[in-house]
Assembly symmetry: C2
Homo-oligomer: 123 residues x 2
Amino acid sequence: MDFNGLAQQFTEFYYNQFDSDRSQLGNLYRDESMLTFETTQLQGTKNIVEKLTSLPFQKVTHRITTLDAQPASPSGDVLVMITGDLLIDEEQNAQRFSQVFHLIPEGNSYYVFNDIFRLNYSA
Amino acid sequence: MDFNGLAQQFTEFYYNQFDSDRSQLGNLYRDESMLTFETTQLQGTKNIVEKLTSLPFQKVTHRITTLDAQPASPSGDVLVMITGDLLIDEEQNAQRFSQVFHLIPEGNSYYVFNDIFRLNYSA
C-alpha cells in the first residue's frame, strides 16, 4: 500500500477506535511512543492510554476535514497531518483540531511513534 | 540545545524569513525534501522555492498560537507542529493554519525533510 492509502486507513481506524472505545488504542503505541495532548506530554503505552481514557467526555466524534501524508524516512516511516472537527458529548458546536502522527512500520503493520494533538482556539 | 529550544528557534527563523523574503528559504530544504502546501505536493529545493515565491500575496505575517515538538528518531530528528494565524496583504481577518515540520540534523544545523501546510477552513 502506498503512504497515502496507509495514512488514510490508519487515521480512519484510529478515530473509529477512539470514538467507540479509546481504552483499546494501546495496541497502536509502544513504550517509546510520545503523546502531546494539548499542553500535556507523555511517553509510553501505559501513560498514553491512561491519559486518553481519563479525558472528561463520554461521547466523542472526530470528523476529518483534511488528511495529508508524506514518506518520512527511507525505512518506510509515514507522517500524517489531520485537521478536522471534534464533537464532544451534547455540545452543538464542533471544536477544530489539528493532529500529527509519525508512523513506524513493524512487521505487516505500523505503530505510532509521535502523536501531537491540539485544539485550534480562535485568536 | 534541547528539541523544544531547537523547534522554537527554527520556527521563529522560518516564519521571519518567510514573512520578510521567502525566496531565501531554499537553504532550509534539500533535494529530498517534500512540501505539501494545501493540495499541492512538491519535492526538491527548486520546486519548493518556486511554489513559495509564486504564492499570490505581497505581505504576509505568521503568528504562532501553539508550537509543540517531539524527538522523532534516535539520530536527532525533531517533529514540530504549529497552529497559528496568517495575515495576508490588507485583509482584516486572520486565517487559521496548521503546519508540521520534520527536521533532520546536518552538521551544526537542521534541514526540513517534511513540510505540510494547511489552512483551517471552517466546517
